[in-house]
Amino acid sequence: MSVTALIALAILVMLAGGFYAGRARAIQAVEGNTVRLHSLPNYHGYYVAIWTGLPALLLLLAHGMFADKVVENLTYAELRREASSLNVQLNDAIEADGAYESLRTEAVQLRGRAEAISADIQRLRNATGEDRDPELMDRLEAERLDALNAVTAADEAVLEREGELIARVAAEARAEGAPVRALAGFEVSQAPREQRQLFLADTLNIARGELPSRESRELVAAASIATRHQNQLRFLIGGMALVVALAGLARTRSQVEPAFRARNHVESLVTALLFLSSVIAILTTVGIVFSLLFESLRFFSSVPVSEFLFGLQWSPQIALRADQVGQSGAFGAVPLFAGTGLITLIAMVVAIPIGLLSAIYLSEYAGPRFRATAKPLLEILAGIPTVVYGFFALLVVAPAIRGLFTWLGFDDVATQSALSAGLVMGIMIIPFISSLSDDVINSVPQALRDGSYAMGATRSETISHVVLPAALPGIVGAILLGVSRAVGETMIVVMAAGQSANLTANPLESVTTITVQIVMLLTGDQEFDSPKTLSAFALGLVLFVITLIMNVVALRVVQRYREKYD
């Protein structure tokens, strides 16, 4: 058993002991006559136990969460210190090296050239009328591509030369018998960022006794440093935890006396706990939003926002080689927005009337027996997994629609169509709208209905003139909830609407939605820094913003038209 686990166990034992200690002391303080206590003995127990265990356990938890990072940083700093003389040697070597210098200069010149061509292209693009010269434009584009490739090649040459120098310095140092730890430090401090992280990760793996991705003398040497830091940290934190626990126990136990308000203290701790829970929920949301935002910003640094929001072409392929066709891909998301809108529209055309009318029937007309059976049945619809709806759409509805419209004389009806996805999605949303609307309609006070009936209104007049207007805010809320379900729905569209990003208003064609594209972009092996994968975050951000706006609008509508009934 590890030291940390033992300490944790000890703290748990102290926590339990603290409870009984506090309790016993409280009872003893009033000589068994617990009526004289301000708080029940158990509260004194809780109070002591919480202050004994909680801070110490939190300390251990923090250690568990952040120890690796701390050890990594400490190890890295120490390795760099060890390697400082070698780093100085490398700097000298670089300065003395003429070849390196000339390569650097060449790279700078090439970059300047590429930028000049880019500026030319930009000027031509802005030009209007007769100045426009597509041929020149194409030629310049080709030139820019060449220039950019040359820049890349030059940068690589610089790096290569640097690598050679590093290797030479390291070899010389090794020949002179420099300590392994210094060499390890040199290796890690001179490596590019990714390699450095890999090296440190391997170091920690060895230190933890896990299998590293490779093994070398340098790694083993670095790992011994890491192990030392790890142990120091572990004993330091463990000792601190024990001290904190003991101090808490001693301090709070001495506070226990008949008039001590242990109950109120426990109460405020409970409040703090509840507050913490809600903060965690909020922080998670904020975290998700920010990760969306930052990845989207990375995406927008390679694809302009205007092109993403207003471009009409969506084909997010990224070429593997520079000379491949469609090298940069097209990231105009309008076809996705249009597809999402079309399918949502179809779904709502299905779901709103059916959902609302069934809610009216269930709440106003249906007898209690019918209602008791129908409402749960309707709600079962909400319990069907969306993937089941998906293959229902794909295997039943889509062929039926295709058959129907082909029979009606339409040509080339796609198997996967916006219509079949929208219809099935509408069916999926019916229970949301009907169930929520039903609740809202039921909450309209009977007094309003009575008032209307007493005026000689019929049932349907009462519903359309009095009940529905009174229930309108809730119904609007239900509909907007349905819309955000439809916008965010993925499975049905993946299966039934297709993946081709057509910009069309024809419901018989295959379209694709924001969610489907996110799935397509992120499934399978993907590198996480190409615009292709990053565009998924931008799409996610758009989806989030749409849903957010809808929720805000729904809230405003509800507040604005809310009638106060008491």
Binding site: A447, L448, D450, G451, A454, M455, G456, H465
Partner: protein
């Protein structure tokens, strides 16, 4: 069952009825899902006057009121028997359309229940569904007239398009009364119309009831004996589903014949 009187004796009359009989009930019984709520009530209510129904909670006075415009139809399991005539026409007859009947017998409820519409639309609600106004001007006239009769016109004339729910409780109740008289009913039923109001609003409503007496047959259910004494000409005392005593308000309050009535109006029970 009422006391061991024969039916001919138990037909209660107000005695000095100068006005013709508007509502005539004979042996009206009501049960909710088999539970008897009203036992053989027979009563004659005169036109153009205010008749108060008093009695402890659950005595059947509201139930009887709801028979008069067949609001009991909307309650599941309600059963009404006996004869109930307004202007000689049988209310419970199959041929009577409750929708038409209710246009003729207005009702004001315990809690003000304006619809979630503007003040104008609240009053115009009845005329619109019954097609009483042929033009916008006519409808405007009806709305203004009804609001004037309800004593609310001066307070709301400049904000007819505000929601009805924005008014105060007392104003809401007068709005509801204006809504009821907009369809020009002959009988107005009021089910504890002041129980949710403060004394000042109550005084206004009572004043209004007194004015409306000129043109309508008003039946009011109330828990306040003072209110019954103030606004009504006839008073009927209900107890446990029976009509115990019915007579002029003065007689009931100064010279009650039945000991139960005496106990109730002197506050000994209920």
């Amino acid at each position: 069952m009422p006391d061991n009187q024969s039916h001919s004796d138990s037909i209660a009359g107000a005695g000095e009825a100068e006005q013709p009989v508007k509502v005539q009930a004979r042996d009206v019984c009501v049960s909710y899902s088999g539970k008897q709520a009203l036992n053989h009530v027979s009563i004659d209510v005169p036109d153009r006057s205010v008749t108060a129904f008093i009695g402890p909670s659950g005595c059947g006075k509201s139930t009887f009121l709801r028979c008069l415009n067949r609001m009991n139809d909307t309650i599941e399991g309600a059963r009404v028997t006996g004869s109930l005539k307004i202007d000689g026409l049988e209310v419970n007859d199959k041929s009577v359309d409750p929708v038409v009947l209710r246009a003729n017998v207005g009702m004001v409820f315990q809690k003000p229940n304006p619809f979630p519409k503007s003040i104008y639309d609240n009053v115009a609600y009845g005329p619109r569904i019954h097609g009483l106004a042929l033009s916008k001007d006519e409808l405007d006239a009806i709305v203004e007239d009804s609001l004037r009769k309800a004593g609310l016109w001066d307070e709301v004339a400049d904000r007819l398009n505000h929601p009805g729910t924005s008014l105060s409780g007392g104003q809401q109740q007068r709005l509801v009364i204006a809504r009821a008289i907009a369809v020009n009913p002959e009988v107005i039923l009021m089910d504890e119309p002041c129980s949710a109001l403060d004394p000042i609003a109550t005084a206004k409503i009572e004043e209004l009831i007194d004015e409306l007496r000129e043109n309508y047959c008003i039946i009011i259910v109330t828990h306040s004996m003072q209110q019954a004494a103030r606004v009504s000409q006839q008073t009927a005392f209900f107890h446990m589903g029976n009509l115990v005593e019915y007579g002029t308000t003065e007689d009931i309050f100064t010279n009650p014949r039945d000991p139960r009535t005496q106990d109730y109006i002197t506050g000994r029970f209920g």
